[in-house]
């Protein structure tokens, strides 16, 4: 088993280097190819001259027609390689990263083991996904010339901003051993509420924002209370809430969208000196707060404890109900912030907004190495998970993949991420 894996790494490395070498060789042959092309062009030119002379009735004797250039098999091959260079580069880099990464990782692990450390927290999970993220970026940089442009980065940034904020809240919920399916509906209803307050009741922008984020938090609180006081399974409680809130979103405006918000509101997603300054600051604040709470506060520690072992948490004097309500309130508040970002960017609020948002958020959290069974995970992992999801979506768009296949790819990534989680769990149990 161990040997097989090593063999796979070696094959990856060899193939990767071969692809790379092939590319290098092909590009080194460019001079030779250019010569051939020149000769071909010269022949074409001569032939054309003869033809032209023929038409004009001039004797084309003085035109020397060069011999036809015979393309060797090698030349044809090199031309073929040059035409698919970007694809080959992607392949080469991926294979080399898998191979080298695999070796480096096992070497690093062996060293850790020498030190007697079996597994420290989630650091090595994060390492794996960072490598995946880097590989992804390199691939796209080669595959699409647009990828590395600053306008594309801003684009990616804007696309991920909603998921970014929601996933931070979802991280809390999943670490605590729960799940929140109501996030998408929450965003939609909160966004509509913002529109109604500002348009129909002319409530000032700041008050609106404050009230609506609070409202989203209250939806979270209801989730938390259903789960902690009535002992409903989180999946069922938030599934019900998802439907109730989505239904409410359709009801409040009779299915109609709300357009054109005050400029003070849309300025949140507006750009200052070409940068979406305010939304950036909001996202930064949300993730920093999330990171800080998980790492440096008592309730953050308790979130891990109730996810890891509820009985032990109770026995250690932790108020389970309070902590559970807390995580769902956090998730709700994040939805409120996401609603703010989304409505201000679109300058509209629609009842169907953020449909399926829960899947993206859960995917980002799980890809980030947070375990669905709770007790493990980190904000940094979630951050990378969000980036991976966002960049994949962006890459598929750049490569012109249709919406249908995009959804399939996204689903596939979630499944693979969970498979990795399960394998990791099994491995850590069998080494015990």
């Amino acid at each position: 088993m161990k040997k097989n894996i090593k063999l796979i790494f070696i094959i990856c490395l060899v193939l990767g280097i071969a692809c790379g070498a092939l590319n290098l060789f092909a590009s080194s042959q460019r001079g030779h190819l250019a010569e051939i092309e020149e000769q071909q062009a010269a022949r074409k030119k001569a032939l054309a001259q003869i033809q032209a002379a023929d038409v004009l009735g001039i004797n084309p004797d003085d035109v020397v027609v060069p011999d036809e250039v015979s393309l060797t098999a090698m030349d044809k091959f090199v031309i073929g390689v040059n035409n698919t260079a970007s694809l080959l580069w992607v392949l080469a880099i991926d294979l080399i990263i898998i191979g080298a990464g695999g070796f480096l990782y096992s070497a690093w692990k062996a060293k850790q083991r020498e030190k007697g450390v079996k597994k420290l927290g989630s650091s090595n999970n994060v390492l794996g996904i960072v490598i995946a993220l880097v590989a992804l970026c390199l691939d796209l940089a080669i595959a699409s010339p647009v990828f590395l442009t600053s306008s594309n980065f801003l684009n990616v940034f804007q696309q991920i901003s909603i998921n970014f904020v929601v996933a931070v809240g979802m991280t809390f919920v999943i670490i605590s051993g729960g799940i929140d399916l109501s996030v998408g509906s929450n965003i939609a209803l909160s966004g509509l509420l913002m529109g109604i307050l500002m348009k129909n009741y002319h409530v000032p922008v700041f008050v609106t924002i404050f009230v609506c984020i609070l409202f989203s938090g209250i939806i979270g609180l209801v989730n938390g209370m259903l789960i902690s006081f009535l002992d409903l399974p989180p999946f069922i409680a938030t599934l019900g809430m998802m439907s109730i809130v989505r239904g409410a979103a359709y009801t409040v405006t009779a299915g109609q969208p709300i357009y054109t918000f005050p400029t003070g509101f849309t300025a949140v997603s507006g750009r200052v000196a070409g940068i979406p300054l305010w939304s950036t600051l909001i996202m930064l604040a949300v993730i920093l707060a999330g990171w800080y709470i998980l790492r440096y506060t008592r309730i953050g520690r308790f979130t891990y404890a109730i996810g890891g072992n509820e009985n032990c948490a109770k026995l250690s004097g932790i108020n389970l109900k309070k902590v559970k309500c807390f995580v769902y309130v956090v998730s709700g508040l994040c939805c409120g912030v996401a609603a703010l970002l989304l409505s201000s960017r679109l300058d509209s609020a629609v009842p169907t907004n953020a449909d399926g948002q829960e899947m993206d958020a859960i995917a980002a959290v799980v890809i980030g190495g947070t375990s669905m069974s709770g007790g493990e995970g980190s904000m940094i992992g979630t951050l990378i998970g969000i980036l991976i999801i966002g960049i994949i979506a962006n890459g598929l768009n750049l490569l012109g993949v249709a919406q249908g296949p995009q959804k399939m790819v996204k689903g596939l990534i979630i499944v693979v991420a969970v498979i990795i989680d399960v394998i990791r769990r099994k491995a850590s149990q069998s080494t015990k």
Binding site: V117, Y296, R301, K314, G317, T431
Partner: protein
């Protein structure tokens, strides 16, 4: 006598660790063979190889003189090797008979299960074992001892030739152990070979014929149990002489720290009153189901109580949840280390400080530096063997896990600490360390309540002993020479109610 099962030169490597280093084990037909060693000696690994859960790297296994390959649990089953694990392997929602014939239902034809035959057969097996269990009962309604007997019946029904018993007596009371031992003797008479793993050496002396002792993944020795004694076995196991098994210290008890009056909680706690003084260990003895753990849980607020009062240092306290108990100065080391004592996916450090986080900075900012210093301090003090405080609790051995749980409550500066089976499932060396930690606590004036099913431990460590039976305290005794195991058992089975 010919060797029936032989494992020769078994080597098993885990990444970076040599778990088994050319280990030999030979078991004769119809013998009870003890496999002894401290936690981490490699007993479980060896048994997992035999039962097909692990694959060995080198070595060979001879079964009835034939070389055999065991690559999977199915292979082991085909050789009629069964294991009864400490954590029983039954499906709670199914009946006894369904469990016994799990996966091998008796069929009338290809599609129909022959329920009648299956229940009759199951009942016959149970009767043969002399167990008062109805094959129609649901497993979840059975006590631990009876569940174990269902496992034994299951092993019998597949006609096991080799039966591995991993700590079979850990959850049992003395009377239940006697029943189990009768069963073992009966199986032995039928020619079943048994490999018996236990930390309770007295039992090994009683029931086993031969013993193989392991230390650090190697064979130390194999011997006839009749030719040796406890001290020698312990010496081989730990590689050093243990002066005494119970490092009892005698202090003059201080004032009363905990008084419990007339607690009622559920069916298992019917009017318990007790008191514990600073500097003493109050042992609570009793059979399983006597309500000892339930009493502790009611005092600590884990389970609701119908009535009763609790006083700490003479002050009445209200305890509705564990948080109240912790605030009042009570600590509780649970018997279920993995299920309740630890958060397994969290590191040692976070487990240790879980109950006392308010000591480390404010609720809005934890002082991680201070936490680190304290945790490392306790890792050193309690001699916890770990490369780092960031090691996950699930990766520690039983003894070290227990020390982490102890550290959690040592950190809490409790006035009263209740220990429920503090040394269950941990090895001899770690047991002494746990006793020494308890001694340190009573030196500091803490009142210690120690619930234990092991009478030698109760007699060896307690200053006073309270005996429980059916949710009531049937007697409280000073631990002097007049207190014997027999006397405790007399009260544990009803005491003066016998005559009444």
């Amino acid at each position: 006598m010919a060797e029936f099962l032989e494992m020769r030169g078994i080597v098993k490597r885990f990444p970076g660790v040599l778990a088994l280093d050319h280990v030999n084990l030979s078991v004769r037909k119809g013998e009870v063979h003890a496999l002894l060693g401290e936690n981490g000696a490699g007993k479980s690994t060896l048994m997992k190889i035999l039962s097909g859960a692990y694959q060995m790297d080198e070595g060979e296994i001879l079964f009835d003189g034939q070389k055999v390959e065991i690559h999977s649990a199915q292979d082991a089953q085909a050789l009629n090797i069964s294991t009864i694990y400490q954590e029983l392997n039954l499906t709670e929602q199914l009946t006894v008979a369904e469990n016994i014939f799990m996966g091998r239902q008796l069929m009338k034809n290809k599609f129909q299960v022959d329920w009648k035959k299956m229940y009759d057969e199951a009942q016959r097996l149970l009767d043969e074992l002399g167990v008062e269990v109805n094959a129609h009962q649901l497993v979840r309604d059975l006590g631990v001892a009876h569940k174990q007997m269902v496992e034994v019946a299951k092993a019998l029904s597949i006609n096991s030739k080799v039966l591995i018993l991993d700590e079979p007596t850990a959850p049992l009371t003395n009377r239940e152990i006697d029943v189990l031992f009768d069963t073992i003797r009966m199986l032995k008479a039928r020619g079943v070979s048994m490999i018996y793993i236990s930390h309770r050496l007295e039992e090994v002396m009683e029931i086993c014929d031969r013993a193989t002792i392991m230390r650090d993944g190697q064979n130390v020795t194999a011997m006839n149990v009749a030719d040796t004694n406890l001290d020698e076995i312990i010496r081989y196991m730990v590689g050093r002489e243990l002066k005494e098994k119970f490092p009892k210290i005698h202090l003059t008890p201080g004032k009363e720290r905990l008084r419990v009056e007339d607690i009622h909680a559920g069916k298992q706690v019917n009017g318990v009153s007790l008191s514990a003084r600073g500097g003493e260990i109050l042992g609570i003895a009793g059979l399983v189901g006597a309500g000892r753990t339930e009493t502790a849980r009611a005092i600590f607020g884990m389970d609701p109580k119908e009535s009763g009062e609790i006083y700490i240092d003479g002050q009445k306290v209200t305890i509705d949840q564990p948080l109240d108990a912790i605030k009042a100065g009570i600590g509780f080391v649970t018997e279920d280390r993995k299920g309740e004592g630890l958060v397994l996916p969290l590191p040692i450090s976070q487990n240790m400080t879980l109950a006392t986080l308010d000591k480390f900075g404010s609720s809005l900012h934890l002082n991680l530096g201070q936490e680190k210093t304290t945790v490392n301090d306790y890792i050193g003090k309690l001699n916890i063997k770990t490369p780092s405080m960031l090691q996950l609790a699930r990766n520690l051995s039983g003894g070290n896990q227990q020390k982490v749980v102890l550290a959690k409550w040592l950190l809490s500066d409790s006035k009263v600490i209740i220990f429920d089976e503090p040394t269950r499932g941990i090895d001899v060396g770690a047991k002494i360390e746990v006793y020494n930690i308890i001694n340190d606590l009573i030196r500091q004036g803490v009142a210690v309540i120690m619930i234990s099913s092991e009478l030698p431990e109760i007699l060896g460590m307690s200053d006073r002993v309270a005996v429980m039976h059916q949710g009531e305290i049937t007697g409280v005794f000073d631990n002097d020479e007049t207190l014997t195991q027999e006397k405790i058992l007399y009260y544990a089975t009803g005491g003066d109610k016998h005559t009444a």
